[in-house]
Amino acid sequence: MAENIRFHFDVDGENFTSAGEASVAVKKKLRQLGFSPDVIRKVSIAMYEGEINMVIHANGGTADVEVTDDEIVIVLADQGPGIPNVEMAMQEGYSTARDNIRALGFGAGMGLPNMKKYTDEMEIDTEVGVGTTITMKVYL
C-alpha cells in the first residue's frame, strides 16, 4: 500500500440512536477494501464497543482509524470523566453504567474486556477529569 488510509469520525455523545454509525461506516469501507471477514469483524466489534462506551460514559469524542501495510489502528479519544480504576474496568462484568443504559441493552461490563479480546493490542491512556484515549491494533 503506497499510503496509509485514514478515517476520522466525530462521535456524537448526545445521541444514543446514532451511536455506532462510525463503526458501521468503517466496516463498510474495510469490506470495500477487500479485507478478510475475520479482520473486519474484529475491527468493527472493538470499535463499536468503544463508540458505545464514549456515548454512555464520556459524552462522545473522536474515532480515528488508520490502515497500514501490517495493521489496522483504531484510536478512540474522549474528554470524559476518565477511568478511575482501569484494572477493575477491565474485569468482565464490572460496570459503572446506570440503569437507564442497561435498559438500552448495554452496561453489562463486557465492553473493555471485549475490545481487548477482539484486538491484538490495546492501550488505555486515561486521566480522571481529563479524558481517555484508547488505542487498539489488529494485525493483518
Partner: protein, 117 residues
Amino acid sequence: MKIGEIKELLHAELLCGEEYLDHDVFAACCSDMMSDVLAFVKDQGVLLTGLLNSQVIRTANMMDMVCIVIVRNKVPTEEMIELASDSGLVLMRSPLRAFEASGVLYYAGLGRREEDG
C-alpha cells in the same frame, strides 16, 4: 434452516428483507443485552430479542447476523426497519415470547447439536 421457515414457525410478520428468506442459518441467540451478544455470539445467524432500539440492528450487523426476530409482537420504529433494510438484514416480529420462540426453533432443529438428540 431457511429464514423463511423461521418466519413460518414463529408466525412472524416480515418487516424487511424478503429477498433473504431463502438464506440458510444454523444457530440463534436470544438476548435483550446487546453487550452479551457482542461478547458471546460466534456464528449465530439469528437474534431473538424484546429490545427495541437502533443498537439492536447495529449489534446484529457487527456480529454478521442475518435475521432479527422481535418477540412479544413489539413494534419496531420506522428508523429500525429502515436501518435493518439498509444493513441487508431480515427483520420480523413474532407474537411468541422469547422463551417460546427459542423453544420452537430449537425443537425444529435450529442450533441443535447431534449429541443433544
